[in-house]
Every structure is written in structure tokens, then in C-alpha cells.
């Protein structure tokens, strides 16, 4: 039985991400009532440290703030302030991180506290370290905003902690905006759109360069506290996150809905219903994992279509090519170079 939480499970402290969004908008003189509309919260609740919000409430708060502020840079400004943040021991651990690898590892492990609205996933076995972001609670309309916010958060945090502007490349799973001046100023000009993946990449050599602020002893101590907190409060991963992990680990066996439900300890009907609550369905989730695995094999491992097809349990490369086209709209051959920087 895997424990997982729902978009309606109240587990996000109001002093964490909600306070960031709330204070940012309030400092621009946005009325509290406009921010908390349809959140099921009032001002008194927001100032009570014991209040916990559900992801659905936080997402409502974020979209209220974005609409009320009406500024093109809200996502980037929120991102700049989001990490390391003031989220207790785990934030202290991040501040003391001695290298990019450590910071990104802490981020991936403690995603439920640090980035509850999107899940960062780290791949470090190619010429580039890839940090890509997957959905946790299903937010199609808010997704571009959240992606900008989270990519900026990691870029800004690592810039601050490393003391230099790190050479990140950014990939967006969306059409190129007509003008990307906000992206260019806040993230830099190494931007790619229509990438099938929302990700940030960095030269693998940057991972282990020592950081000036880091302190291994202090980090280890903070991390022990953070890990204990994580153990004390299990089941804060979302269903989409848990299912992604499950499918990713068994992708070669082409898992079915029934098998997945059984292994998650719920009935197929419940799994279907819970996925529908997130605005998705099993096949879409499976196809997403297959797409991500294909991209990894094609681009990082430099596999050919034949090998990817075999890995994913297809009869032949032709079948795989057809399916891949259905998932992404483009052929694997075209895909081969969309993620990694040109040089």
C-alpha cells in the first residue's frame, strides 16, 4: 500500500509557499479578500501558523494573485523568492549545501515540502544534468505559470548559493511565446520551446564544484532534522507522483491499470476515479512516462529507435515510431535534438 495525498489534503503550512504568494501580492496592495476568494480561507486563518492548506487551495491562491497583480513577471518574481525559502530544517540544509549536486538532491528528496505544486526529478547520467518537472496535482491552466516559477526558483537559488550565474539551459513543453523578454531577463537567453519536457539542464561538470557558502557539517545536521520530519509525516506525495514513480520503475513491463491499482493497494475503479479528480487518466500518465523514458534513451543514452522500442516492450521500431508520434506529435528522429543544447 502506497500512501498518497489528494489535491484536497491540507498538508501545506500557510507559512510556507502560501505566505510567499500572499505576502508578495499584499505588498503590491492587493486586497486580502481578492486573494483569498474561493480559497475557503480568511485573513485570520492566514496569520495562524497552525493553518494548513491543501494544494487545491494554494493553486487557487496562486491564480488569484496572478490575476490580481496582472503583471507579466509575477511567476518570475515569486520564483526568485521561493527557494531556499523558510520551510524549516530543509531550507537550512539547502543554504548550507556545498555543491549543486547536493542542493539538487535535497530538492528532489524533499519535494513535498520545498515544491509541493510540481515535482522535480533529477537525471545525472549524461553530459548534462537534467532537472525536469512533473505534475503533482494536475493543473493544466496554471502549469506554464508554475513551470516559470519553479525553473526560476532553482536558477535563482543556485545563482545565490554558488555566487555566480550558472549556465542553465531551459526547456519548455509549450509553444514559443510571441515575446520572451521576461524569460530572457530572468532566466537568460538559453531558452528552448516545444521541448516535450519542462526542464533545466546544466553541464555535468557544474554539479560538483564547491560552493562558497556551503558547510557540510551544518548541512548534515539540518538534513537529519529534515529527514526525521519527512519520516514522521509520510504520504505527502501526490497520486500522480507515486504513479509516475511506479510506472517509471516498471516501464519495460508495460504495466496495466489493473496491475498498477493492485500494487498501489487500491481498486482499479478507485484509481480511475482518483486520476479523474486530477483531470487525467491512466493511459495519459503511462504515455507521459513512456515519452520521458524515450527522450532519456534517445538523447542521453543515444539509443536508436530499435533499442527504445525493445526497452518499452514494442514489437518493432515502426510501432514505437507510430506511438511516439501519437504521444508527442513529432517523430523520434526529430525529437533527438530538441532537449540538449545545440553545441
Amino acid at each position: 500500500m502506497h500512501e498518497y495525498c489528494h489535491a484536497s489534503s491540507a498538508f501545506i503550512s500557510c507559512q510556507h509557499q502560501p505566505a510567499l504568494v500572499y505576502d508578495h501580492a499584499r505588498s503590491a496592495d492587493i486586497a486580502a479578500a481578492a486573494l483569498l476568494a474561493d480559497c475557503g480561507l480568511n485573513e485570520a486563518a492566514m496569520s495562524d501558523p497552525a493553518t494548513r492548506l491543501s494544494p487545491a487551495q494554494v493553486m487557487r491562491l496562486v491564480s488569484n494573485a496572478a490575476r490580481a497583480l496582472g503583471a507579466p513577471d509575477t511567476s518570475f518574481m515569486l520564483g526568485q523568492q521561493m527557494l531556499p525559502g523558510h520551510y524549516g530544517a530543509v531550507s537550512h540544509a539547502l543554504i548550507q549545501a556545498t555543491s549543486l549536486r547536493e542542493a539538487l538532491t535535497i530538492l528532489s528528496t524533499h519535494h513535498a515540502t520545498l515544491t509541493p505544486l510540481l515535482r522535480p526529478r533529477l537525471m545525472t547520467d549524461g553530459p548534462f544534468a537534467v532537472l525536469y518537472w512533473t505534475d503533482t496535482f494536475g493543473t493544466p491552466s496554471l502549469r506554464p505559470f508554475l513551470v516559470e516559477m519553479h525553473l526560476t526558483a532553482v536558477a535563482a537559488m543556485t545563482r545565490w548559493l554558488s555566487g555566480e550565474r550558472l549556465p542553465w539551459h531551459f526547456c519548455f513543453n509549450r509553444a514559443k511565446p510571441r515575446h520572451a523578454e521576461q524569460h530572457a531577463v530572468h532566466l537568460g537567453t538559453a531558452l528552448r520551446f516545444e521541448c516535450q519536457l519542462d526542464a533545466q539542464l546544466i553541464d555535468i561538470d557544474c554539479l560538483d564544484r564547491p560552493w562558497p557558502r556551503g558547510n557540510r557539517v551544518a548541512m548534515a545536521a539540518a538534513l537529519r532534522t529534515a529527514d526525521a520530519e519527512l519520516l514522521a509525516e509520510p504520504g505527502r506525495s501526490s497520486l500522480l507522483s507515486v504513479l509516475y514513480d511506479y510506472l517509471h520503475a516498471r516501464i519495460t513491463a508495460a504495466p496495466t491499470l489493473e496491475e498498477s491499482a493492485r500494487d498501489l493497494g487500491i481498486s482499479p475503479a478507485t484509481l480511475k476515479r482518483h486520476l479523474a479528480l486530477h483531470g487525467t487518466h491512466f493511459q495519459a500518465e503511462l504515455d507521459q512516462v513512456r515519452t520521458h523514458v524515450s527522450i532519456y534513451l534517445l538523447q542521453v543514452r543515444h539509443c536508436d529507435n530499435e533499442q527504445v522500442a525493445r526497452h518499452l516492450g514494442f514489437h518493432d521500431a515502426k510501432n514505437f515510431r507510430r506511438s511516439f508520434r501519437r504521444w508527442t506529435g513529432i517523430t523520434p528522429t526529430l525529437m533527438r535534438n530538441t532537449l540538449l543544447p545545440a553545441n
Binding site: 526568485q80 545565490w160 523578454e181
Partner: protein
């Protein structure tokens, strides 16, 4: 804004009611068959529209002489049309001549007062435009102004660049992009509110140091653009260098504490030619390359004395 003008609105509404009661009490209701619907719709519609214009105007204006003139003018036109409309419903005996006078006085008086109001509005607007020099050129687009700095944004800049490019006959202008070093550190250490104040301070400094015809825009974040019409490369470089030096000389005092934050900036410039988007892309890339050259160390640091 409307709450400022409660008296005007109440008086106008009371006048409408008064006219109605005058007609209703002194006149005789015409039989429904003789109502001229076309006239009723025309006159009633005019009264209604004048009322809408009155509310829209008041909701967007502070109190003052110009606003009073515009109010009296629009309210007069509204009352004139309203009286005309009442005329269609009530028949007044021939002994009453005031109704014709009322209509004529309201309509003509309203029209004249509105004209006077618009005349002074024009003068007022011209003096307000003075405040916007260096912030806008040639055309106005209210959506293009940034909330923090009150400067025009990148969209407006692109339109201006296109206008400059289309204007092939005249001497080409130039464009400067300026980026504040280590601005993220100010946001991080002093908060984004303080960051906004730094941007406002830099905005003032830039506006004070450019010519009347130049245009200062906030491109995005901490990146500013200065458009210099009819300016050659050498002059532009001098201007960019001057602006950079002015920023390096300025001291920003955060709200909390008396330790000033010193600023520095880097710039790139180019003649305006080719395509606006490509020009901006190139300048952004060059600016980024200029930034990474110095190791990107945090340069916005408190002065030690």
C-alpha cells in the same frame, strides 16, 4: 473615484426627477396611441447616453474646475434630452412656455459648458503630457505602462522600434540596453519591495539624464532600454557610458537601516536597423555575455563606510 463626485451625481439624479415631476404634475398624459416611439427612443436614448458619459467621465477624474465644467455640460445635455423626451408623454397647455425654455437652455447651455470644459481639458492634457516626456513618444498606449516604474514596457518599445525602422527617410536612431549588476542580491537581501524602490530610483536617474526626445522603457526585470532617435553610434556610446557612470555614483538607502547600497550597471548599444525582434535578441545575448565576463560576482554590496 466615483465617491468623490457623490454631490454631482445626486444633484443630477434629483434634476432628472424634478423635470419628471414638473411634467407629470403640470401636464396631461397623452393617450398611448399618439406616442411617437421613434422620438421617444431618440430623445430618451440621448439622455441615457449623456448619463453614461457623465458617470464614465466622473469615475476617471479627480475633482476640479475642468471636471465641474464637464459635469455641468454633460448633465445639461442630459436634462435637455430628458425634458424633450417627457414632452412626448405629457401635453402642456399653451400657457406654459417654460418647457421650451428649459429644453433650449439645458441643451444650449450644456453644449457651451461642455465645449468650455473640453477646451480646458485640452490645456490640462497638454501640461500632463509634459510629465510623460521621455516615457512615451508619438503615440499613447495606456496598457503599456509598468506598474512599478510607470515606464513603458517591452511591447511599447518594440512598437517604437518598428516605427523608427519604418521611418526610413530620417537619420537612424540607436538603442541602449542597461542591466543592473547583482540586482537579484538586492531582492534577496532586502526584499522585492526594496528592489522595486531601487528600480524606481534608477528610473528617475535615467529620466533626468536623457534628452527630451529620448525614450526610457523598462524592458523586463532590472533591464532598461533607452531609445535615442537620430543619434549616431559615438553619441550613443557616450550616452550609455554617462548613464552607467551615473548609476555607479548613485547610493540607494533602504527603508530599514542607514547603510547605502551601491549600484553598478552594464550596457550594450546598437544602431536601430534590420528587425526589431532580432535586434533585441542580439542585444540581450551581448548583455548576457558582458555579464558572465566578470564571474557574475555579487556587486551590489553595502558600502563599508
Amino acid at each position: 473615484m466615483l465617491s468623490l463626485h457623490r454631490t454631482s451625481l445626486v444633484v443630477s439624479a434629483a434634476a432628472l426627477l424634478l423635470v419628471f415631476f414638473l411634467y407629470a404634475s403640470l401636464g396631461v398624459l397623452k393617450p398611448e396611441a399618439t406616442w411617437q416611439w421613434l422620438d421617444i427612443i431618440g430623445e430618451g436614448g440621448t439622455a441615457l447616453l449623456c448619463g453614461v458619459w457623465l458617470v464614465m467621465m466622473l469615475s476617471a477624474r479627480p475633482a476640479g474646475a475642468v471636471t465641474s465644467l464637464l459635469t455641468i455640460g454633460l448633465a445639461g445635455l442630459m436634462l435637455g434630452a430628458w425634458a424633450d423626451c417627457m414632452d412626448e408623454f405629457y401635453k402642456l397647455s399653451a400657457v406654459h412656455v417654460w418647457d421650451n425654455w428649459l429644453e433650449a437652455a439645458c441643451t444650449l447651455g450644456g453644449g457651451l459648458t461642455l465645449t468650455a470644459g473640453l477646451y480646458f481639458y485640452r490645456i490640462e492634457q497638454l501640461s500632463l503630457n509634459e510629465h510623460l516626456t521621455k516615457r512615451e513618444r508619438l503615440f499613447r498606449d495606456h496598457r503599456a505602462f509598468d506598474r512599478v516604474t510607470q515606464l513603458a514596457n517591452a511591447d511599447y518599445l518594440r512598437k517604437q522600434l518598428k516605427a523608427e525602422l519604418d521611418n526610413a527617410g530620417t537619420t537612424r536612431g540607436s538603442l541602449i540596453l542597461l542591466d543592473i549588476d547583482g540586482f537579484h542580491a538586492i531582492n534577496r537581501e532586502h526584499g522585492t519591495r526594496e528592489g522595486d524602490r531601487v528600480l524606481q530610483a534608477v528610473t528617475h536617474l535615467l529620466l533626468l539624464n536623457v534628452r527630451r526626445d529620448d525614450l526610457v522603457c523598462r524592458y523586463a526585470g532590472d533591464r532598461f532600454a533607452v531609445l535615442l532617435p537620430a543619434t549616431d553610434t559615438l553619441q550613443t556610446l557616450r550616452m550609455a557610458e554617462h548613464l552607467r557612470r551615473m548609476i555607479a555614483l548613485m547610493r540607494h538607502y533602504p527603508k530599514a537601516g542607514n547603510t547605502p547600497v551601491s549600484l553598478s550597471a552594464r550596457h550594450v548599444c546598437a544602431a536601430i536597423e534590420g528587425n526589431a525582434d532580432a535586434l533585441l535578441d542580439t542585444l540581450n545575448q551581448r548583455l548576457e555575455a558582458a555579464g558572465s565576463g566578470g564571474g557574475g560576482a555579487v556587486r551590489a554590496q553595502p558600502l563599508s563606510a
